[in-house]
């Protein structure tokens, strides 16, 4: 059974066909190519998952790409438990987004282009998760970034969209630079970039250190931090989170696929994949955990006050990604991946629901201008509500299981864990609050938009609501594969944490130190926070709508800070963008370009021109003369050889 | 470097000048085309006509109205009957004679027979030019039948001179009518036979569709008539616009094309075949009894030989007609047109009151149609020139007069 090799190449084929023939031949039939391809990938992924569950792990090289002395790079696939989970996530969400896009992008003039990019993205993402070496991972990593750039700037006529695309690309460069260095370090250290030998050898370098600028730095820590650098960029963690909210300029299916479910989680995947390296460095682990926790809280607070529906969800994504890193940081990789997996469903659902709302509101994003959409768009409303319940962590929904798992693992992992647990728990409260803020403001109450908008309101077509429904089912039941033992015992299910057990061969099982009582406490607290958040939101936006206004008035400074996202963008502008511009203007244009380069550029041709004036006499332009000279040369060489 | 020429300067290519005709299998007689070819593309096309010029107009000025009639036979020699009819209709209009009903119907029958025979010979040669050989021989089978019928009617097959000023030469026999009726029964099947060979053939369609396109306005401006004009969508037909003979008493439609290409003109002709067939049928069914000559016709037309031998008055008429010509030709001028298979055949008579036409002008459709050849051919391929020569359906005898 080698059909798993087809998984990435089917979308690639769809991409090639669409991009080559799309403009002239396929046009608005592009989905007939792209959707079946990705569906086929999904089917094969499911079969592959069963294979993996059955105990098979594939790791083989398809093709040797580069051989340069000891540097051997091959295109190869590693399909183990982690990859299998990622395959399911990627292909499922991708398929649903493909289907959804048929309705959402209908009539767009770049229709074929959109589908070809989606296919290309799917291919890149699959290459990323299926890689069996770091370079292929890096290839996928960059390729998804490229696709993200294409898709954010899909409506390139819009300046904000193309700017957002550039921003995402540039910000990611910072992280990717670190990641690239990390890969290079790995090669320098281990002499290979394939996962297997690297992870086998990694224990041997514990204690080795490298001297940088007079400081001794542990080699493992350095590598882990450099790798994490990439994760920070791609997964939009502090301080490189700024690109993700702006990325919402892209079409909504893109936001759902790339900026919620798949690409941004690549960082989490990578950290989990490299767990043998991270596990050996406490420093790195702590950095990951703290970054994650701080990002989670930080983003959640911003989300509280924003009005743009997609931005709220985007900040929520950042926040949830913070959760995943938090989990990885405390060693609970399985919990992180579990959250990644459940998050993919409900976050994609949230985005697609938002897209559906936008579709109905003719592109309106401000939730203050919505309201009462419940009765116009029942499908969208109910699925959105389910997703919100899931993200809030209401028991029984997917989000509850994964979030609870993370919080418990954090709580149980030691003193630092307690701190991050606390941050996480607060975030949970905030999450519930802002999620239901959207629900209550946008879907309940009275419609606040213009009359034309109200007239235009309608439920989205079947091709859009169908993915919503499927995802909603996923948002409910996807968590049931990882029921914590505590509840499992209570319900009488043996080995209820199937997910953790499944992933254990790859990421290990963290050692949790805590009593049953503490576990119950953590769980009850998170349930309490979730319900509390919902009730607060209900109170503030349904019962007493004047409270938020008053709050905003009374806490003006805090509100302004939050509204302006802690001024991070402005700070970057001040410390990075403006100095860069200054350097570019004065130094590069003035000195380097003006004096040095132009001096060389003008001087060399003058010298050559003078010299060639002499040489051009030789070129008569008559072919015979050239031929004769050639023959003469041949004659001379022959004479040499004979003599 | 200075020797490299300006990029925008047009590239020179050697043009090949080919003289097509006057002896060439596809020119339908002695037409000569001088083609300037760039590869296979025709850059310039210059037709040369006149190889068959006999001065018919000049000859007619020196003959009596009656003796000029056979000249019209030799114009479009494959549809001589229609030319005769055109001539006598014009003369009758000049003199103000009204032929009897029976004669009118007979003339209509023979005109339409001529149309059929002309159109099938057109299909035959056109198909042969494009390379379909079998249609040619199929068509000749039917043409042979028609010529036999002509022979039965008047003794001649090609140059018939059957109509007379004021009527027709002799009455039709029942035998002729019966066998003609049989022909009309049979003929639609034969048309279908041609069409199965042609219409469903992709190569034929490729060779004719979109070739030699001329728009309706342009076609009128060029003075095209007949199927050439109707192929472009203008239902201009002298039989409908200025009815003569019995055309106002029979029912028929004027088929028109849409795109004005070779294929549409071919379709028009094929549909006209069916219309002509139905006209003949109607005429045979409606053929009224009665005389075949107008009562005052003896002043213009020779009486039958047996009457001359027995009847004094007839002898005098004969003598006067032969020696002086019809005396009472009114002074005036008339333009009269009939619809011959090729298009509108016009006669313009200027009479000075004598027995001979002072000036007889012939507006020959082939002449006009030949003039449009450069317009159709320039820019197309050599093979399309063949298709275009075929589609205009010219007979050089008529063109050169």
């Amino acid at each position: 059974m080698k059909s798993y090799q087809l998984i990435p190449f089917l979308p690639l084929a769809a991409f090639v066909i669409n991009i080559l023939l799309g403009k002239r031949i396929i046009k608005d039939k592009a989905h007939w190519i792209a959707v079946p391809a990705v569906l086929a990938s999904w089917v094969i992924s499911v079969f592959t998952l069963f294979d993996v569950i059955g105990g098979k792990v594939f790791n083989e090289d398809l093709y040797t790409w580069i051989i340069s002395d000891g540097f051997i790079v091959s295109v190869g696939f590693l399909v183990d438990q982690l990859t299998a989970v990622m395959l399911i996530v990627v292909t499922t969400v991708s398929s649903l987004v493909h289907i959804y896009s048929v309705g959402y992008m209908h009539g767009d003039k770049g229709y074929y282009r959109f589908f070809s990019y989606l296919s290309l993205f799917t291919f890149s993402m699959l290459m990323l998760v299926m890689a069996n070496n770091f370079l292929q991972l890096y290839f996928g990593w960059e390729a998804v970034g490229l696709c993200s750039y294409f898709l954010i700037g899909f409506w390139y006529e819009k300046k904000s969209a193309s700017d957002a695309g550039k921003k995402a690309f540039i910000v990611n460069r910072f992280g990717d630079f670190g990641f690239g260095l990390g890969v290079i370090m790995i090669f320098l250290t281990f002499g290979t970039i394939h996962y297997e030998p690297v992870f086998n050898a990694v224990n041997g370098i514990v204690g080795q250190s490298i001297n940088i600028l007079g400081y001794d730095i542990s080699l493992v820590t350095l590598i882990a931090l450099l790798l994490f650098c990439g994760a920070v960029g791609k997964s939009a963690q502090i301080p490189l989170h700024v690109w993700l909210p702006d990325a919402m300029e892209g079409p909504t299916p893109v936001s759902a696929l790339i900026h919620a479910a798949t690409m941004v989680t690549a960082g989490v995947f990578m950290v989990a994949r490299c767990n043998p390296i991270f596990n050996l460095s406490h420093v790195a682990m702590n950095v990951v955990a703290v970054t994650g926790a701080v990002t989670a809280l930080f983003a959640a607070t911003i989300a509280l006050v924003q009005n743009d529906i997609k931005r709220i969800i985007a900040y929520s994504t950042i926040s949830q990604l913070g959760y995943m890193f938090l989990a990885c940081g405390v060693g609970a990789y399985a919990a992180g991946i579990f959250h990644l997996y459940t998050h993919a469903f409900f976050k994609a659902l949230l985005f697609l629901g938002a897209g559906s709302v936008m579709h109905a509101m003719a592109g309106e994003l401000d939730i203050q201008k919505m309201g009462g959409l419940k009765k116009y768009m029942p499908w969208t409303y109910w699925t959105f509500l389910l997703a919100s319940l899931s993200i809030a962590g209401i028991p029984g929904f997917a989000g509850f299981f994964s979030k609870d798992e993370i919080l418990w693992q954090a709580y149980a992992s030691g003193p630092l864990g307690k701190i991050v647990w606390f941050l996480g728990a607060v975030t949970a409260l905030l999450t519930a609050f802002y999620s239901f803020r959207i629900v209550f403001v946008a879907f309940h109450g009275k419609f606040r938009g213009t009359h034309e908008q109200e007239h235009h309101l309608h439920e989205s077509p079947k091709v859009m609501t169908l993915p919503l429904a499927i995802l909603a089912i996923g948002a409910i039941i996807s968590g049931w594969v990882g029921i914590p033992p505590l509840i499992g015992e209570f319900l009488g299910i043996e080995h209820s944490d199937k997910f953790g057990a499944f992933l254990a061969p790859v990421v290990g099982h963290p050692h949790a130190e805590g009593t049953h009582g503490e576990e119950i406490f953590v769980m009850l607290l998170s349930i309490l926070f979730a319900v509390g958040g919902i009730i607060t939101a209900f109170f503030m936006y349904i019962k007493r709508p004047e409270i938020p206004v008053q709050l905003g008035e009374s806490m003006k400074t805090a509100y302004r800070v939050l509204w302006n996202k802690y001024y991070v963008d402005e700070l970057y502008h001040l410390i990075i963008v403006r100095p860069t511009f200054w350097v570019a203007q004065s130094v590069i244009v003035g000195v380097t370009d003006g004096k040095i380069i132009e001096g060389i550029v003008n001087g060399v041709p003058r010298a050559i021109g003078g010299f060639s004036e002499i040489l051009r006499r030789v070129q008569t332009g008559f072919a015979h003369h050239y031929a004769a000279v050639m023959a003469l040369g041949l004659l001379i060489i022959m004479i040499f050889l004979i003599l | 470097m200075e020797q490299i020429r300006d990029e925008a300067a047009p590239l020179k290519t050697k043009e090949l000048t080919v003289s097509m005709g006057p002896q060439h299998p596809a020119t339908h007689g002695v037409l000569r085309l001088v083609l300037d070819l760039d590869g296979e593309t025709v850059v310039k096309c210059t037709p040369y006509v006149g190889y068959l010029h006999r001065g018919v107009e000049k000859l007619a000025e020196n003959r009596t109205y009656l003796s000029a009639l056979p000249l019209s036979d030799r114009l479009d020699y494959i549809s001589s009957m229609a030319n005769n009819v055109g001539y006598v209709v014009a003369v009758e209009r000049l003199f103000g004679i009204e032929p009897p009903e029976r004669a009118k119907f007979i003339r209509t029958i023979v005109s339409e027979m001529t149309r059929i025979s002309s159109h099938i010979i057109w299909v035959a040669t056109h198909a042969l030019d494009i390379g379909a050989m079998t249609v040619f021989l199929y068509s000749f089978r039917e043409r042979e039948w028609l010529l036999d019928l002509f022979e039965m009617l008047c003794g001649a097959r090609l140059t018939v001179s059957y109509p007379r000023i004021g009527g027709v030469r002799n009455d039709v026999s029942q035998e002729f009518l019966d066998s003609l009726y049989k022909f009309t029964e049979e003929f639609p099947k034969r048309i279908e036979e041609y069409e199965t060979l042609i219409d469903q053939n992709r190569i034929w369609l490729k060779r004719t569709k979109g070739i030699g396109v001329i728009s309706a306005e342009e076609a009128i401006n060029w003075g095209l008539t007949g199927p050439m004009l109707r192929g472009s969508g203008i239902p201009y037909d002298v039989r409908k616009f200025e009815p003569y003979d019995a055309y106002d008493k029979v029912e028929f439609e004027v088929p028109v094309g849409k795109n004005g290409d070779v294929y549409d003109r071919y379709r028009c002709r094929m549909l006209e075949l069916r219309q002509s067939n139905s006209i003949i049928k109607q005429c045979i069914e409606k053929l009224p009894p009665g005389p075949i000559m107008a009562p005052d016709a003896p002043k213009f037309t020779l009486p039958p030989k047996d009457r001359v031998m027995k009847d004094m008055e007839s002898l005098i008429h004969h003598f006067v007609l032969i020696t002086k010509g019809p005396l009472t030709a009114p002074k005036g001028e008339i333009y009269s047109a009939v619809e011959v298979p090729k298009g509108e055949l016009g006669f313009y008579f200027v009479s000075d009151g004598t027995g001979k036409p002072y000036r007889m002008r012939l507006r020959a459709p082939s002449f006009v149609h030949a003039s449009v050849l450069p317009r159709l051919c320039e820019g197309s391929l050599v093979a399309d020139v063949i298709a275009n020569i075929g589609t205009i359906d010219i007979v050089l005898g008529e063109c050169d007069r």
């Binding site: 015979h624 004659l635 022959m638 050889l641 | -």
Partner: protein, 169 residues
Amino acid sequence: MLPELFFGYFAAAIIIFSLIVVTRRNPVHSVLFMLILFFHIAALYLFLDAEFLAAIQVIVYAGAILVLFLFVVLLLNLKEETLIRRYINQWPMGVVFAVGLFILMFISVRSFLAGPKGEISSVLTGQSNVTNLGTVLYTEYLFPFEIASLVLLVAIIGAIVLAKKRLKS
């Protein structure tokens, strides 16, 4: 004896015809003598156990390349070609070079020694020439083979672009 005789005939014919090719006044005649020349070369290949190459020599050289030459010769105007001088002004130089080259090469290959024998040939494997050629071509030389196809593709496109008339816009 017989093989030597045959070789003698073909070698003489090849040399004579190539001389004719480069000296004819009328390019059409040159092309046609070239055709005969290619046939002789193909026959020579038959003696060397290279049937496939012989066929290819005829199909490609005679059937395609030379027809191309003939086309171009016919398309260009040749009326005055036959009337004006054939050689460039400096032709004695060319003759000197060519003769010198011939003498040198002749001398140098006189002392030629055959290298080690290869392993793949019709005689050794007992299979037909085509089979052998195909086996080697599609295994060991697959990559160069693909490159050759690329070369041809580039040539096709290049030829079309170069020879095409500018379209009237």
